[in-house]
């Protein structure tokens, strides 16, 4: 079985986000970029499977994005991916997520993969569109936000748990399939220095839009949303600090929540 892990490089979650003066994007310079924390679960799950099962042939990492993504790729290769594909082209920058999914679908389709892992959500765009959209592009089933993954002995299906409102859902899915990973599935191991060195020698295949079969048509066929007018989050009105002994402040708070905020 060949496994693919789709990753994205995103600004670190602690980064200060500043908006560009023209409002058309955020300031990109000086931002610390990392592997999306949810994609970390995806690579770890894939590598663990390879370590546990003799029928796993290889783990390939796929990333789309500019040259700086090679840093994220190196981490992923050091954690245990065997090789990688790096899609890099200016034409990719303008795609919305559905169009990215269509593009990745075309790249993956004939690769012989049976299992694709991906984080449940990109922490930059925060949308979580890519996983399910990619599954649809491939016409595969998917499990979203999986917290547990157990392949069947025969390697033809698996069961997975996923978190939903107030409940835990257990599903059975036939391969080939895509799984998006939620916290709780596993924690990514720390890439060791020797492995980071070795990662440098692992093969990375570079691809551009010209290498994607039918790129122009498939991206014209779906999506096309555009992001504009970036802004800081809506300002909250200044808060009020209640002063005094606990006895008074607690009483005052309940009163305010009732009468002013009308929240209780």
């Amino acid at each position: 079985m060949k496994i693919l892990v789709v990753i994205k490089q995103v600004p670190d979650s602690t980064t200060n986000i500043k908006i560009r003066p023209d409002g058309e994007d955020i300031e990109r310079s000086g931002i610390k970029m990392v592997v999306d924390p949810f994609d970390e679960f995806a690579i770890e799950q894939a590598v663990q499977l390879k370590e546990k099962r003799s029928d796993v042939e290889s783990v390939t990492a796929l990333i789309m994005g500019p040259a700086r993504c090679s840093e994220a790729l190196r981490t992923i290769l050091a954690v245990g991916a065997d090789d990688a594909i790096h899609l890099q082209d200016e034409a990719f920058e303008k795609l919305d997520e559905l169009q990215v999914a269509a593009t990745l679908g075309a790249v993956i389709k004939d690769g012989g993969y049976e299992l694709v892992f991906r984080g449940k959500q990109e922490i930059d765009l925060d949308s979580g569109q890519l996983g399910p959209a990619l599954a649809e592009a491939l016409d595969w089933p998917h499990v979203g936000a999986a917290t547990k993954f157990e392949p069947a002995e025969d390697g033809k299906s698996f069961t997975a748990n996923r978190r939903i409102e107030g409940a835990d859902e257990r599903v059975e899915v036939r391969l080939p399939a895509l799984v998006t990973c939620e916290k709780g599935l596993c924690e990514m191991r720390y890439p060791s220095l020797p492995n980071l060195m070795k990662a440098k020698r692992k093969p990375v295949k570079a691809m551009t839009a010209a290498d994607v079969p039918g790129f122009a048509e498939i991206t014209a066929g779906v999506g096309g949303s555009e992001m504009h007018q970036f802004a800081p989050p809506p300002q909250r009105p200044p808060g009020r600090i209640l002063k005094g002994e606990a006895e008074e402040t607690a009483k005052e708070l309940v009163k305010l929540l009732r009468e002013e905020a009308k929240a209780i």
Partner: protein, 327 residues
């Protein structure tokens, strides 16, 4: 494409998700602007209760797709059902709640129907040329942006809970049933079991009020204080990652970047510092209350009301006060 607005009304066990009914409010104003109708679509099995709940919101038309195979949510089957409804209605805009189901289903449906999609929407409007223009948060709530949709294809938007009020005062929508026609391979996902988590306590994604505890709770036992206040407020119990990692509460209650995103009407943070990753999950709450001993805790920057004091003193009095108010 018509000028109709289609609303996918999420239900489980014949219970409509409150966020789904809230979609009717922006649905009506978009329909009015576009000169179209509001069409609701309910997918499931045995959905009479859900159907009449939708009817009361004053939609113009209801399409049900009911079949035993649709009893439980499956990404493939529900995608097939909703895509069929879209093909029939040819809506300009499709709205659904930004829930686990909405987030899971909308990208598949958008791909299948060649639509465009925006998730977690907090504002939406039709421009003069009939283009949908929406606002959504991104970068874990550290920014927002407008998303413009192309004019020549349907726009799908999932809407954040508690962004819009639930409409009332309707009846008598035209009703029709559409059969569920299986697509090849729809049975590749099967739900084996749905196990409730959290016992009698509401889930953070379902409650109007959340009382959350952080590392300052010190142990699981002390969370009793949080549960007692939550009970009186009919609230859910949440926790920071520090509290979950330390084992005080299960991760299903974690709020934040790697936990759940919540937008309740009231969020009470007890002994939570307000790390950027925690705020990522709760800064969209309507009213935020912070109780923290540290005047400098970042949570006070986004709190509407703050008490700088020991939560072990304040919380029990709050519980008592709420109880008295109700009594």
């Amino acid at each position: 494409m018509t000028n109709d607005i289609l609303i996918f009304v999420e239900q489980r066990d014949d219970r409509v998700h409150p966020g789904a009914l809230q979609c009717v409010t922006p649905g009506k104003s978009l329909a009015e602007k576009a000169g179209g109708k509001v069409v609701a679509c309910i997918v499931g099995d045995n959905i009479d209760g859900a159907t009449s709940a939708v009817e009361q919101t004053g939609v113009d038309r209801i399409i049900t797709v009911s079949d035993p195979a649709l009893k439980m949510y499956s990404a493939l089957r529900y995608r097939t059902a909703l895509a069929a409804v879209m093909e029939k209605v040819e809506p300009r805009v499709v709205l659904m709640a930004a829930t686990f189901m909405g987030r899971d289903l909308s990208p598949r449906v958008a791909m299948r129907t060649k639509a465009a999609l925006a998730t977690d929407v907090i504002e939406l409007d039709l421009t003069g040329d009939g283009e949908l223009d929406i606002v959504r948060p991104l970068y874990n709530g550290k920014a927002t942006c407008h998303v413009k949709f192309p004019k020549d294809r349907p726009a799908i938007a999932t809407i954040r809970a508690n962004t819009f009020p639930t409409p009332t005062g309707g009846s008598g929508a035209a009703r029709e049933d559409l059969p569920y026609t299986t697509l090849d391979g729809d049975d590749r996902i099967n739900v084996l079991e749905i196990a409730k988590t959290g016992g009698d306590v509401k889930d953070v994604t379902e409650a109007d009020i959340i009382v959350s505890g952080g590392r300052a709770m010190k142990n699981e036992d002390n969370f009793k204080l949080i549960f007692e206040l939550a009970k009186e407020l009919d609230a859910a119990v949440g926790a920071s990652r520090a509290a979950c990692d330390a084992g005080y509460q299960p991760h299903s209650r974690q709020v934040g970047l790697t936990g759940k995103t919540v937008t309740p009407k009231l969020y009470i943070a007890c002994g939570i510092s307000g790390a950027i990753q925690h705020m990522a999950g709760m800064r969209g709450s309507k009213i935020i209350v912070a109780i923290n001993t540290d005047t400098e805790a970042p949570i006070f920057n986004i709190a509407d009301y703050g008490i700088v004091d020991d939560l072990f003193k304040v919380v029990p009095i709050l519980t008592e006060e709420v109880l008295r108010l109700k009594g």
